[in-house]
Structure formats: structure tokens, C-alpha cells
Amino acid sequence: MINSLPKLLNAAAITLKLLSVSLIIGLFIGLLFAILRLNKNIFINRFAYGYSYLFRGTPLLVQIFIIYFGLGQIEYLRTTFLWTILKEPYWCAIIAFALNTGAYTSEILRSAFQTIKPGIIEAGKSLGIPNKIIFYKIQIPIAIRQSLPAYGNEIILMMKGTSLASTVTLMDLTGVAKYIISTTFRPVEVFIVAGGIYLFMTFIIHNIIKFLEKKYSFNS
């Protein structure tokens, strides 16, 4: 059992890499779509809503399968440059994770934008601050602060979601755990160790978010 720990810890690094890359891309997607959701134009608004509805309404496993195995079936796609990306399981997983977390993040940010009191924006306007500056320097920072607790949850959910990467051949924490089981036939012990590592990562993420919440607290 002890000798499988280094292998599992190495795999945890891959899990963290998958998580951080997809969170960064997902955050940009989320911010973009949150802004689109607030747009008055009905088509833009509906488009953004449709994206979030689609990716929040289907299981992540289905999304990753469609992107990996589904797109791989389209022969035309294999002749385009897109295939250099879609050929790699790593990028397929990143695309699926980023689109998924992007959908949730857009909802978190949208609701955060909507909870900003109109008085704050009006105060900015009355000081003669241009709308653009109000948006970037006032609305976005407040929205990010508002959404920290919910976004912390999303990070933890996404971290657990990365375990699905093993279904498209990536050797993440779950993938390596399964591999060790396939040679030792001892699922209980290996999964307990893997579960412990996931729990530890959750602990770290939870504390980072807590720290950020405190640091950017309105009362400080």
C-alpha cells in the first residue's frame, strides 16, 4: 500500500494540472458569458442562456464522451487542423472541463452582478466615472467578491469532476488508482488512499477560498 503512494501523488499533480488549466479557461468563458447574459439584445442573451442551460443540464461524463469519442467519429474533422487538438485526450478533457465549469461560473458571476446594489453604480456615475471604468473597476471586483463562496464550491466540484478524465485514457489520480487496482486487485485500500488525497486537496482549496474571502471582506 505504501509503495503505491508516490504513484498516486504523482497522479494527483496531473489532476491539479487538469483542474487549474480548465479553471483558468473556464473563468474567462464564465466571465464572457455572464456579461453576455446581462446584454439587452435578446439573441445574445438567449445564446448565452442556451450555453449555460446545455452544459449545466447534461452530465459531465456525457460531455467528455461526446467531445472525445463523438467528435473522433466525424471523418471530416480529422482532416482539419482541429484534429491536432482533439486527437489528444488531454485537450479533449480540458475542453470538456472548461466548457462545463464555464457554464456554472457564468451563472455564479451573473447572479453576483445582479446583486450589486444600483446605488453603488449610481454613486460612480454621479462622480463622473465613465461606464467602462465603473464596470471594470467597480462591478467586476464586487461581483468576484460576491461570488467567492459559490465559486469555491465550483472549484471543489470541478476537482472531483476531473476524475472523469480517466475515462478518456488520462492517467489522473483516479486513472492511476484504477491501474494499481488492476495489478493488485485491492480496490478498497487503493481507493481509500486516493480518496484521502482528494480530501486533502479539498482541504487546501477550501482554506485558500476562506483566506480570500477574509482578505476581500467588505468589513475589513
Binding site: 469519442f69 473522433g72 467519429q73 480529422r78 484534429w83 486527437k87 485526450p89 475515462t167 485514457t169 484504477k178 491501474y179 487496482i181 488492476s182 495489478t183 486487485f185 485491492r186 480496490p187
Partner: protein, 276 residues
């Protein structure tokens, strides 16, 4: 209140009925249902294949009733050890590594492994003998391994996880290849066809079955493999402490072989006599 009582009663009654079905002393046999022609499912979801038919035949010889249950390949041996079923018949080769965890009956069928590529691949038409045995590799077999090592260097070879095929690639006999593992053989086939895999390794029949059913230009290449990491035929996997059942299966296999049942069923599903 009355309705509540009735509901509780009927739930309990149905539980008893369900309990009874399973309490009956049937031998439970686990199979994957995703490795044709060894075992697979028809369009209606019913388990079919060589081993499903053979399992019922063996149970007739044992004189007990059997139920066949489905289990994902990667959890097959753990599920047996945890008593989810009593025997494995899932195209599982008898290997020294597996014998550390479970017992095997004598082999009932054997069948070679092979690499497969898509037509037009640079790996097509390797200069190797038709088949090599790795138990005591002769000069020709050693030369073939060298040819394969050179040809597969830096290539991605796809296999189903926890198989003899994965063990072989991990053993280093063909150098450092980029091994990609999948949960099912179906997924291996899909990625071979999509071009994500440069080659795939599995039972030769698994590829010919896929080529036939999908119409995809999948071709076998290199030698067929047997012995060594590929084990000594396919047998019934049984828990180590279950020596009674092991005896029963061994006796049943003897009878079925003598009466020609195994070769008849094997010929029906494989197209050739894979019995042993």
C-alpha cells in the same frame, strides 16, 4: 394508516420474493459482455457469445443451475473476491499474476493476440513470422520482438486496461511504447479507427469481429502472440478457498471436451476451433 401498512407489507413481501430468487443455490458466473466473440450482448441486451453458451453447458454437466451476471472488466477479479459472483468466464487468460489472487480451472479455450492497425498505416506488413510463442522465445521470436521494438518506438499503442495485452506492453519486451488504456475493447476499436492510436493490441478475433461488424479497414499486423505474458489459455476464475467449485468446473470441462461440446461451441462463435 391502513394504506401505510399495506405499502409496508407489500414492500416487505416483494423483498422476500426477490430475496428468494437470489437465495436459491445457483452458481453465479461473472462475464463482461463486451468482448465479442468471447462474450457480448445482442441488440436486446441479452448476454451472448462463446462463454455464455459454454457456461450453461458446463452448468448442465455440473448439474446445478447458473445465473450469468455482468461485470465491468476492470473490476472483475475484485468482484469475484468480494463474492459478487462465484466464477469468472470472461475471456480471462490464466496468468501467474492473476493466480496470485485467484485460482483458475484448466483452460477451455485459447486464442492468439495480435496487433491491429488501420489499412495504409506504416506499421502494416511488418517483416515477422506468422506467430511467436513467448514462453521460451526462440531466435526467430527474439528477432521479431526486436523488429517490433524498432517499429513501435514512439508510437501510441492502445489496449484494454488490466489485460494480458497491457501486461505485455508494460513488460518492456517491445521497448518503450506509449501505452494508452481503455475501459472496454469497444473504446479501443473506436480510437483505433479515429486515428488516435497508431496500433492496438488485443485478441486477434476481437479485431476481426470489429472489422466485420463496423466495415472499418482494420487489419492485423506483425506476428500473433502466445505464451509468456499472454498466459496459458483462458480458464474459469474461481476464489482460492472455493476448491469444491474448482473441482466441479474441472470435471465439467473434461466432460464437455470429451463430448466435443467445447470445440462445437468454439467453432460456432470463433469460426475456428479455439478449444483446448
Amino acid at each position: 394508516m391502513n394504506i401505510l401498512k399495506k405499502t409496508i407489507f407489500s414492500v416487505l413481501a416483494s423483498l422476500l420474493i426477490i430475496g428468494n430468487v437470489y437465495a436459491a443455490d445457483k452458481i453465479k458466473i461473472g462475464t463482461e459482455g463486451a468482448y465479442p466473440p468471447w462474450n457480448s450482448k445482442d441488440a436486446s441486451g441479452k448476454l451472448i457469445g462463446f462463454e455464455v453458451e459454454l457456461a450453461y453447458t458446463l452448468c448442465r454437466y455440473i448439474g446445478e443451475q447458473c445465473v450469468i451476471v455482468e461485470q465491468d472488466w476492470d473490476g472483475m477479479i475484485p468482484a469475484l473476491i468480494m463474492r459478487k459472483f462465484d466464477a469468472i468466464m470472461a475471456g480471462m487468460s490464466i496468468t501467474a499474476e492473476r493466480q496470485k489472487a485467484i485460482s483458475f480451472s484448466q483452460g477451455y479455450a485459447d486464442e492468439v493476440a495480435s496487433l491491429a492497425v488501420m489499412k495504409g498505416s506504416s506499421l502494416e506488413g511488418l517483416d515477422t513470422p506468422a506467430g511467436i510463442n513467448l514462453t521460451k522465445p526462440n531466435a526467430a521470436a527474439k528477432k521479431a520482438l526486436k523488429t517490433l521494438t524498432a517499429a513501435l518506438a514512439g508510437k501510441t499503442v492502445c489496449v484494454q486496461t488490466a489485460t494480458i495485452h497491457q501486461n505485455f506492453l508494460d513488460s518492456g519486451d517491445v521497448g518503450k511504447v506509449n501505452v494508452r488504456t481503455y475501459k472496454t475493447q469497444d473504446e479501443v476499436n473506436l480510437d483505433l479507427a479515429s486515428g488516435r492510436c497508431d496500433a492496438a493490441l488485443a485478441a486477434a478475433v476481437a479485431f476481426s469481429d470489429y472489422a466485420e461488424k463496423s466495415g472499418k479497414p482494420v487489419v492485423l499486423t506483425g506476428p500473433t502472440f502466445s505464451g509468456g505474458a499472454f498466459g496459458n489459455g483462458v480458464g474459469v476464475g474461481i476464489r482460492k478457498d472455493d476448491t469444491e467449485l474448482l473441482k466441479k468446473f474441472n470435471a465439467a470441462i473434461n466432460k464437455a471436451r470429451k463430448n466435443g461440446d467445447i470445440s462445437r461451441i468454439a467453432t460456432k462463435w470463433f469460426g475456428f476451433d479455439a478449444s483446448m
